[in-house]
Amino acid sequence: MKRYGGNARAIAALVREAEVHRDVYVDPEIFELEMAHLFPNSWVYVGHASQLAKPGDFITANIGRQPVMASRHTDGSIHVFYNRCPHKGVKIASEPCGNTGKFFRCPYHAWSFKTDGSLLAIPLKKGYEGTGFGDTQANEGLSKVRNVVIYRDFIFARLSANGVSFEDYFGESLSTIDNMVDRSPEGKLAVQATPIRYMHTCNWKMLVENQTDTCHPMVAHESSAGTAVKVWKREQGDSTETPMAVQLYGPFMSPYEFYEQSGIRIWPNGHGHTGVANSIHSNYSDIPGYLDQMVAAYGEQRAHEILGEIRHNTVYFPNIMVKGAVQILRNFIPIAVDKTLVESWVYRLVGAPDKLYERALMYNRFINAPTSIVGHDDLEMYERAQEGLKSNGNQWVNLRRLYDGHEEQDVTAVINGTSERQMRNQFHAWAKFITMGMDKRIEAAE
């Protein structure tokens, strides 16, 4: 039964001021429309330039469900293409990353492509003479994603030819990426670790919303973080130094008041972050030598400014979350309406002490791994929600906490940290980007 395709009004009606209809999480047709419209209309994270250090290096990724790849060309430039051969559609790259040498070669019939995607050679080329091949899209080589922006080494792409510019789309929200990069004394991040991958049997948006859900940690994570705190209290004896592990778990148990006053900042287009005044990452011990390096690199005042900005989770709509203070990016990759692959990446702060990298890797496995007890707590909630939402008793999800009756949309604001406004902000963006150009595209197809 098709109810939503081509019906922008019906889709928009799923998002009320402070409620959303459960179909946004459970309806396969809505999921298809997200893949067809929302992801192509948005700026989506593809990868990090440090993964493409040398000419011929490539990475593969998905934008929504569409396979893409990025490569470093011989002249040093970075290109993003659809990962499919122009001949019969075979995926050119099948590994997450690698080096292809001077050119890509399709394994099926050996068409080859330069590392900027252009067609290099076809065996028995004369078989195409006089066939009109020169006028086909195949003659151009690998189809390019034309809207690509590399911001401080973060590669973003927008598949739709028309839409919101990168600058307008992200605006001031880029300050979290800035802060993460600035935390390197050399102003540089490097991906050196494979991501932690974790399969979730729930809709991708549940994960995104959870990033700014500050009323769940002390409840859902009592079992993990609460137990960690309890066991440490019992076992600590006369040791005065809290282990790094307990420092990472402990703050999850902070009371409501802590989250209330730490604040949430929202930005236009669905972006926002928790931890404005301070955050769960604020009280980690200093790493010896790091501050000195930062002061030497940036000067006393600027170094303190950078390290004093300790945000918690920044959501970049639609589907990534960045933690500047612990150098982690989580990518919520939609697989199906009830299936999401989460890839959690750690960036090494180039030039900073190893201990910082150790802490970031530890945080990642404590919170974001399939073996993570905090992860177990969260996934249990998402799975129960995915099940519970099938119930017809009430078809609306309530997002009304601290709603004041007349919220302005697409604004920048700092609010009480237990507000659900960032979730409302995301759903406003969701309705905007999924319906954007929808009517026009349908007319064109007719």
Binding site: I196, E222, E235, V246, V346, D354, M362, R365
Partner: protein, 158 residues
Amino acid sequence: MIGEKTITDFIYREAELLDTMEWQTWLDLFHPEGRYWMPLEWQQQDPVLQPSLMYEDLLLLKVRVERLAGERTFSQKPKSRCHHLLQAPRIVTCDPAAGVFKARTAYIYTETRGDMLERYSGWASHELVQVGDALKIKLKRVDLVNFDAPFGNIQLFM
């Protein structure tokens, strides 16, 4: 005197304790400095500056075990159960004079919860030390054959 059979028996006993969920007795098998390590990379060398799925000391293992029984541990309602199918351990080192005992054991591990059942294959590497008359775990390393695949929850121990 610790011989090869002592090591093999120890490894079977350890798996049995996990399968019967005698968590406290299982924890007692660890040396105070013992570690449980689950690498995330092929033939990984460094548990700390390379990414791991788990690298846990006794404190963290105690947290896990205590959490399993917690009143508000919702991911354990219903409870998980596990099953270890071990190949005969291959003794890598049995050197009582130096106090070094190492073995490698191929396994198939099953974890179930409610109607779900997941199966994993890998190798367990035990590094044991002698404390009094007994062996204790200095390091238990579990390498999954598909360490690079995305998994759902793994809540118990391989």
